[in-house]
Structure formats: structure tokens, C-alpha cells
């Protein structure tokens, strides 16, 4: 019984390490192909498809997050007479953590799933093999444009998220918590520094990379049939989100020391 449990854990660890190794190899191969000029039309197409199309859902998510954070912060801060700090706290939380992480999570759910489903479908219908037979490297053709698109577009989405989150906070602060416009904005300029925003954008680039590589890896290693595509898509979203949260901690540790 005990031996079976240990064996099962051991198998899972080996599987996890194998997958991690393969993901690193895929990342290495993708970076290797970045030395060649990427297909710009593919990159732009992916930027529109993966980035621009995600904007509404990102804005909606972050708007309400900014609003609820302000609601909670303002209620508590006003009790202690610290309403003049609300704008700054919301802006810092938004720029450093909430905008990049939540944008990453939303994009992982929407874009990561789409990447895996698309590449996974291509895999099960032999389209990836067809590419290879036609002397096209699937990494160069499929992975590189998606990686570039995600690494470029997630930070751009985060810029919009920073703005909309802070605007959401402003609306709640001024309309609900009776904090004046001047106090809210002054607090933002007082507390927030450029590095807060840049750190968030650096995180967003990492998250974009994670979403693209995990999405492509899960697609390229999809099992047989529609069930395989469904399983790979779920695994892609779950793995990306977990990696975003874990890497976020270490990035915060490095970026905001």
C-alpha cells in the first residue's frame, strides 16, 4: 500500500520533471529561432487576435477590481483618517500586482486556451505533420509569432489595465467615499513612482511568455481526438495560471526590493 503510494508520487514527479524539461527545450528552441527575422504578418495577426480581442474583457475585469479595492480601502482608511492615501495605495496595488496578475490570468484563460485549442486541433488533424512534411518548422511558424505577440501585447493590455483600474478607483473614491478628486489624484502622484509601472510591465512580459509557451507546448503535445484537445486546453489554462502566481511572487521579490 505504502509502496504503491510512493510509486505513484514518484511517477508524478518524474512526469512533472519530464514536462518541465520539454517546456524549457521548447522555450530554448523558440528563442533560438528569434535570431531569424520573424514573419511580421503572422506576428501582427496574432497581436490583433490574441491582444486586441482581449482588451474588452481585461478592461471590464480590472475596472471592477479597481472599484472594489477602492471600496474596501477607502472604508477602512477613512476610519483612521487616512483618506488622503487611498489613491496612492490603489494605484500602487494596481500597477505592481493587480493589473499584471489579473490581466495575466484573464489572458491565460482566453488566449492560452485559444492557443492550445488551435494548435491542438492542428496536431490531431495532422496539420502539424503536414507543415513538417512541407519543410516548415512548426516552432518558427506557430510558436515564435505567438510568443512575440503575447510578450508585446500583455504589457500593452496592462497599461490599459493600470489606467482603467485607477479610473475605477477614482469613480468609487469620489462618488461613493466622498474623497475629493484632488486628494485622490494628489495621492497617486505622491506615492506612485515610475518603477511601480515599469515593474508591472516587466511582469506582464514574463506572464505573456508563460502563456504563449505553455499554450503552445500543451497544443503541440495534445493527445488523440477531441477529448485530448479538451484536456490539453484545461491543462494549459491551469498550468499558466499557477505559473503566473508563482513567478509573480519571485518577480515582486526581485523587482520591488
Amino acid at each position: 500500500m505504502l509502496l504503491a503510494i510512493v510509486e505513484s508520487i514518484g511517477r508524478q514527479v518524474i512526469l512533472w520533471m519530464e514536462n518541465s524539461g520539454r517546456i524549457v527545450i521548447l522555450l530554448g528552441n523558440t528563442l533560438f529561432h528569434l535570431r531569424e527575422k520573424p514573419r511580421m504578418n503572422h506576428v501582427l495577426h496574432q497581436m490583433a487576435h490574441l491582444g486586441v480581442d482581449s482588451l474588452p474583457i481585461v478592461l471590464l475585469t480590472i475596472l471592477f477590481t479597481g472599484m472594489v479595492i477602492t471600496l474596501q480601502t477607502a472604508t477602512e482608511f477613512i476610519k483612521y483618517g487616512a483618506q488622503s492615501s487611498v489613491g496612492g495605495v490603489v494605484a500602487i496595488a494596481m500597477a505592481r500586482e493587480l493589473a499584471p496578475v489579473l490581466t495575466g490570468v484573464v489572458v491565460a484563460g482566453r488566449v492560452g486556451a485559444a492557443i492550445t485549442a488551435e494548435i491542438g486541433s492542428m496536431k490531431v488533424t495532422e496539420q502539424i505533420d503536414a507543415l513538417r512534411v512541407m519543410a516548415i518548422n512548426p516552432i518558427k511558424y506557430l510558436v515564435v509569432p505567438r510568443l512575440l505577440a503575447c510578450v508585446i501585447m500583455v504589457p500593452i493590455l496592462v497599461i490599459f489595465a493600470d489606467i482603467i483600474g485607477t479610473v475605477g478607483g477614482y469613480l468609487v473614491a469620489t462618488l461613493y467615499a466622498d474623497i475629493s478628486s484632488f486628494t485622490y489624484i494628489h495621492s497617486i502622484t505622491l506615492f506612485t513612482v515610475v518603477n511601480d509601472i515599469i515593474g508591472g510591465l516587466v511582469k506582464a512580459m514574463f506572464f505573456g511568455g508563460i502563456i504563449a509557451i505553455i499554450g503552445c507546448y500543451k497544443g503541440l503535445t495534445t493527445g488523440e481526438g477531441a477529448e485530448g484537445v479538451g484536456r490539453a486546453t484545461t491543462a494549459s489554462v491551469v498550468s499558466s495560471i499557477i505559473l503566473i502566481f508563482i513567478s509573480n511572487y519571485f518577480l515582486s521579490l526581485v523587482l520591488y526590493r
Partner: protein, 254 residues
């Protein structure tokens, strides 16, 4: 043109192919027959480098390819075309873009020149004027024909066909057979066709190789295969219940 030397292939400890030696000469059409799961498609995938053998060597035009990197393999693959069992058309592209794909990627042709070749190839497979149709609007037979038009667009020296007539009605199967023979006649290609449709096999083959249990058990011309004394070969080509049924039938005839 193609040579397999002592090829063995295993997946997860299961032997798919064992000790395969096979040669396909320039301009020849070799048809590989055998029951489902006997390793026919695996053999085809080894020839184009989609799989690497566990043991043995694969030679294409005098070059050993089983140890090559993907980029080096691609230099060899430019001279090869393949028609997949389920067509494998790029479903995000129109029929015209599918056929033009290889030309756009590997040649410096102008769009006008590419358009001319696409139109000609689609006319050749009986699909003139279908350039702007999406693959999901086509029937199985039409998809196979587009796949063939795509594969021959870059004028390959070697064509590989994986079950080209599977799932098609007899009329469409006949059309595909004629297209394979036309491709050979017009482009002088070396072809390997994997099938278990005996009528197709006997119509298009210069030689036939029978694979069974991961081993080549018979190679010969169509006549030699038809006259084979091997009960397993006869069972397969006559569609008998078991090899012993053939042995019984033969002894009755004597």
C-alpha cells in the same frame, strides 16, 4: 531513391516494425499493403522523417536521414510531398492558399505565377474554380484531391500517400487512383502508397510490399503478389477469414 535498412521501431516498449529492409527505385510506385495496425503508416512517417527509427537507417536520395536535425531534414523534405489519410488541409486557409502554401514558402515566384500553378493544379484534380472555398466546405474526396494538388505544387521527386482512398466511394477511389498514376506519368515521381484497398493497389503499383506484424513478409510485382504461396498474403488479398482458409481452398483446387 528511398532505402530502409534494418529498420525497427518501438513505442512504449511495443514493437511496431522489426528488421525492415526495403528499397524504392527512382520513378517506381511501391504500394505497401497490410492489415490495420501493421505499421504501414509508421513506415511512411519514417521515410519523411516525422519519426526516427529505434534502430536502422533511412536513406533518401543517398543521404541517411535518421540522425538529421529538423532543419537539415527540411532540406530533404522540400523534394517530397505527402497526401495524408485525413488530408491535413490547413483549415484556416482557403483551398487556393493551401495549394499555394509550399510555393509561397519555398520559392521566389510572384503571386501571378503562383496563381497560375494553383489554377492548373486544381484543374488537374478536377476542382477548377474552387480556390476561394474553405476546406470545411469540401467533401472527403475533394479534400483528398486538394491535398494531392498541394503536395505536387512544388513538383516533388518523391510522393508519399497515406491511405489515399480510405473512406471514399469506389468512383472517387478510382479518381484518386488515376490522379496518382497521372502524377507519376506527368511529374515522373517516385511514389510510396500505403493502402489496404487491393483494387487500388493492383491498379497503381509497380511493386507491392506486404507488411504483417511489423515485418515485410512479401515484396514483388503485382503478378508475383497475386501468385504468392504465402497464406497470410493470400488471406489479405482475397479477404479470407484466416490463412488456413486459403490453404484449404488451395488443397481443394488441387
Amino acid at each position: 531513391m528511398i532505402k530502409l535498412e534494418n529498420i525497427s521501431m518501438s513505442f512504449h516498449g511495443k514493437h511496431i516494425l522489426q528488421g525492415i529492409d526495403l528499397e524504392v527505385k527512382k520513378g517506381e510506385t511501391l504500394v505497401v499493403i497490410g492489415p490495420s495496425g501493421s505499421g504501414k503508416s509508421t513506415l511512411l512517417r519514417l521515410m519523411v522523417g516525422l519519426l526516427k527509427p529505434t534502430l536502422g537507417k533511412v536513406w533518401i536520395k543517398g543521404q541517411e536521414i535518421s540522425h538529421l536535425s529538423e532543419d537539415d531534414l527540411n532540406k530533404i523534405r522540400i523534394g517530397m510531398g505527402m497526401v495524408f489519410q485525413y488530408s491535413a488541409l490547413f483549415d484556416s486557409m482557403t483551398v487556393g492558399d493551401n495549394v499555394a502554401f509550399g510555393l509561397r514558402e519555398h520559392t521566389a515566384m510572384t503571386e501571378a505565377e503562383i496563381h497560375k500553378i494553383v489554377t492548373r493544379n486544381l484543374r488537374m484534380v478536377g476542382l477548377a474554380g474552387q480556390q476561394d472555398v474553405m476546406p470545411n466546405e469540401l467533401s472527403g474526396g475533394m479534400k483528398k484531391r486538394v491535398s494531392l494538388a498541394r503536395a505536387i505544387a512544388i513538383r516533388p521527386e518523391i510522393m508519399l500517400y497515406d491511405e489515399p482512398t480510405a473512406g471514399l466511394d469506389p468512383i472517387m477511389s478510382g479518381t484518386i487512383d488515376r490522379l496518382i498514376m497521372n502524377a507519376k506519368r506527368v511529374l515522373c515521381v517516385t511514389s510510396v502508397v500505403v493502402t489496404h484497398h487491393m483494387s487500388s493497389a493492383f491498379k497503381i503499383a509497380d511493386r507491392v510490399a506486404m507488411i504483417h506484424g511489423g515485418r515485410i513478409i512479401e515484396v514483388g510485382t503485382v503478378e508475383q503478389i497475386k501468385q504468392s504461396e504465402n497464406p497470410v498474403v493470400q488471406q489479405f488479398i482475397l479477404g479470407l477469414k484466416s490463412p488456413s482458409a486459403y490453404v484449404r481452398r488451395r488443397s481443394e483446387m488441387r
